[in-house]
């Protein structure tokens, strides 16, 4: 092929021309079709934690800040941001920060390896849901924690650590109540509760009496003493388990004093901590 200047320069020339043309079109479009967006959305998003955890119920921090600017939600709906950060957002937007009640994930089971009976040996993939589909992973209690750490893996904030008893310990300082563990648990044992609701039932077994205790030493045997020892209507028995009604009256640790299996506990901080158990015992002595 012969040396041909026209061939060499025509291709770049066409590309350059096209580029110039589309550039002008875009510039004109930007000038005349611009979407006005509130600059405060960007600023608010900057102030949010940026974890996109979804605890507020929005698909991410951007969507949440859009709603904040629109005034549809209060800053305190974000459970991850520190109180100072919420205050600065409220100040920036000139709104009320709202009441932030610290919420945490609580496990409705205290039957670890030492407490709950095992009826078979499980061999298979290490995961709660995987064990649950194979005859419940050999755990005697079909409602209890399987202890294979699906929740620990699901936690974005490293707030869940499996303890030596095979139970997930939630660090209430790190927990943001995003609800990922609630979704991950195949036995629906996690629930999001306000930290200041101290009275908590750590059992999910609908069995009563000896049947319940035969499966697990810390199971609720549905004796109903906690219900009798608290103000009327605060603790009721439903489906062989105590249900705490926080609005019904003042909560008192007395409800836990006569529990024969420690299924109902008075929680000040983390679950399954020696401190809280000791405190429980000391309270018992006072009673």
């Amino acid at each position: 092929m012969s040396f041909d200047l026209e061939t060499i320069f025509s291709a770049p020339g066409i590309m350059l021309g096209l580029g110039l043309f589309f550039g002008i079109v875009l510039a004109v479009a930007y000038r005349f079709l611009k979407v006005e967006e509130d600059p405060r959305i960007d600023d608010t998003e900057e102030l949010l934690p940026g974890t996109n955890c979804g605890a507020c119920g929005e698909p991410g921090c951007r969507a949440f800040s859009e709603k904040l600017v629109a005034g549809e939600v209060q800053p305190s709906k974000c459970t991850v941001a520190s109180p100072e950060a919420l205050e600065s957002i409220a100040e920036y937007l000139g709104v009320d920060a709202g009441e932030q009640v610290k919420q945490v994930a609580r496990l409705r089971c205290a039957g670890g390896r030492a407490e709950a009976a095992q009826i078979a040996e499980y061999q298979g993939f290490d995961g709660c849901r995987a064990a649950d589909v194979v005859s419940g992973g050999g755990k005697g209690c079909p409602w209890g924690c399987l202890g294979l750490a699906d929740c620990e893996i699901s936690c974005t904030f490293d707030a869940i650590k499996m303890n030596e008893d095979g139970l997930p310990k939630v660090d209430v300082d790190l927990c943001t109540a995003c609800g990922d563990c609630v979704e991950a648990c195949p036995r629906d044992l996690f629930e999001i509760r306000p930290l200041n609701e101290h009275l908590y039932v750590q059992c999910n077994s609908p069995l009563a009496g000896d049947d319940a205790v035969a499966l697990c030493s810390v199971a609720c045997d549905a004796c109903g003493r906690c219900s009798a020892d608290s103000a009327p209507g605060v603790v009721t028995m439903e489906n062989n388990l105590p249900v705490v009604h926080f609005q019904a009256g003042p909560l008192k640790p007395e409800a836990t004093f006569r529990c024969p299996t420690n299924a109902i506990v008075w929680l000040e901080g983390n679950q399954f901590e020696q401190d809280s158990q000791d405190q429980h015992k000391s309270l018992k002595r006072h009673a």
Binding site: I119, A120, Q123, G124, F125, G127, R129, A130, D132, V133, V134, S135, G136, G138, K139, G140, P142, I153, P186, P206, L207
Partner: protein
């Protein structure tokens, strides 16, 4: 609507893919069915079939007779339950199920002084309309006895414009160890053919086809010999291959027709029933006896005396194992169903159910889980999958917990958990367990959305 069904006389090539596990049927295939003596305590779970649980009609303390209705159907996709013994209802409450969970069940204590004889009268099936027949089948508590326990009458309730041209009886029994259908075909061919005739005439089908794997030559011979003159029955010997007894594979093998994913056999004008189911239907219409007992193969290297037992439903698994000589020292696992699809049992006191085809005691030899190694992309699972799915991809996605992607892109819900992939995997990856985990997650998500 599918085109008219081809009913070829020519030999077809069976189905593609699948595996050839050793069948181990020699332990029980020549042993006649024995009746298991009645025990003392029986537990009938209300939800032992697919669909809505039955609704109890008895209460603690009630005296019941063998075959008496104890729970009515809880909906259309549900069946009745009958007392397997004469005795007294102990309680209606949560009892341990074979998978370790507690389910609502009726516990019955047998009367030790009763002869446990069944009293019933034959039912005149010839005068029944199709609707009445379907109602009778539901009332008899009959479900698919191959293992899935799907209410039988639902299969017969055809939507407007559908018709059945062929009643296909599944005698493949492709699961290793199990010989319940085999023994029924050898010992009760008349009952099978009579039951088949009842269903065929009620559904208006033209033909009865019985598919039997070639490793049961005595069953094929017995059936062929028992066919009455003029009965439109064809016995088709099938290649010995797992999962030959999966209904879609069976249809493919015999008719060369593929039932599309998400469709049912009735969409290709075929009704498929297990041998045990048809015999149960025959028993109901001939003797008036509802589904209160079934044949269970007790086998495996972990039992001393393997047997085919006619056991009342609700009998504790422990009683069957005891009758078979008890568990040997080296038993590691007890499985309900076959070794490929069956589930390991969490509690030996759990009862025999309508869908329990076998109780297998396996030793470390059979259950020893190979050390799990990384997937080497050899593709053996893909080659084995009779549903043309990609099990290797499922295992990888499930490990990464990308369950939604498995459903949306790779049709994990089409998997029937036949176990071919896990069986063929040289790296010892528990693929089916991963798939079941994913399906469990997906189902729980749909439940939560509701």
């Amino acid at each position: 609507m599918m085109k008219a069904l081809r009913l070829p006389g020519r030999a077809l090539g069976g189905f593609d893919h699948g595996v050839h596990p050793p069948h181990h049927k020699e332990r029980t295939e020549d042993l006649p069915i024995q009746r298991l003596p009645f025990g003392s305590r029986f537990v009938m779970p209300l939800g032992q079939h697919i669909g809505a649980p039955s609704v109890p009609v008895v209460k603690a303390g009630d005296a019941v007779r063998r075959g008496q209705l104890i729970a009515g159907p809880g909906g259309f996709v549900s069946v009745a339950l009958h007392s397997p013994v004469t005795g007294k209802v102990l309680d209606v409450g949560p009892h341990r199920y074979s998978d370790g969970t507690f389910r609502e069940a009726i516990a019955i204590e047998a009367d030790p002084y009763d002869s446990q004889e069944f009293e019933g009268a034959p039912i005149d099936w010839e005068s029944l309309s199709l609707e009445a027949f379907i109602g009778e089948v539901q009332k008899a508590g009959i479900v698919g006895m191959g293992g899935a326990a799907f209410p039988c009458h639902v299969k017969y309730s055809l939507p407007e414009g559908t018709r059945i041209r062929c009643l296909l009886i599944n005698g493949a029994e492709c699961e290793p160890y199990l010989t319940t259908d085999h023994r029924l075909m050898v010992e009760r061919p008349e009952a099978l053919l009579h039951g088949a005739e009842i269903v065929r005439s009620k559904l208006g089908a033209e033909e009865i086809v019985i598919g039997v794997e070639k490793n049961k030559p005595d069953a094929i011979e017995m059936l062929q010999r028992s066919i009455g003159p003029g009965q439109p029955v064809r016995v088709v010997p099938l290649e010995v291959k797992y999962p030959q007894g999966a209904e879609k594979m069976l249809i493919k093998s015999i008719f060369g027709v593929e039932v599309p994913a998400g469709k049912l056999p009735r969409d290709v004008q075929i009704a498929v029933n297990n041998v045990g189911t048809i015999v149960a239907i025959a028993d109901y219409f001939q003797k008036g006896m509802p589904l209160i007992e079934r044949v269970v193969t007790v086998s495996g290297p972990g039992v001393a005396y393997p047997a085919n037992l006619l056991a009342p439903l609700g009998t504790p698994i422990r009683d069957l194992l005891r009758f078979a000589g008890g568990l040997k020292e080296e038993t590691r696992q007890v499985v309900m169903g076959g070794p490929m699809m069956g589930a390991s049992i969490a509690d030996l006191d759990a009862p025999i159910l309508k869908g329990s085809s076998g109780i297998l005691a396996l030793t470390a030899n059979e259950t020893g889980r190979p050390e799990e190694r990384p997937c080497i992309r050899c593709g053996r699972c893909v080659e084995a999958c009779p549903y043309f799915l990609n099990p290797a991809r499922f295992a990888r996605l499930a490990r990464a917990r990308l369950y939604e992607e498995m459903a949306e892109k790779y049709n994990v819900m089409d998997c029937v958990e036949c176990g071919c992939c896990t069986y063929s995997c040289p790296s010892g990856i528990p693929i089916v367990q991963h798939i079941r985990t994913a399906k469990d997650y997906l189902r729980s998500m749909t439940r939560k959305e509701k």
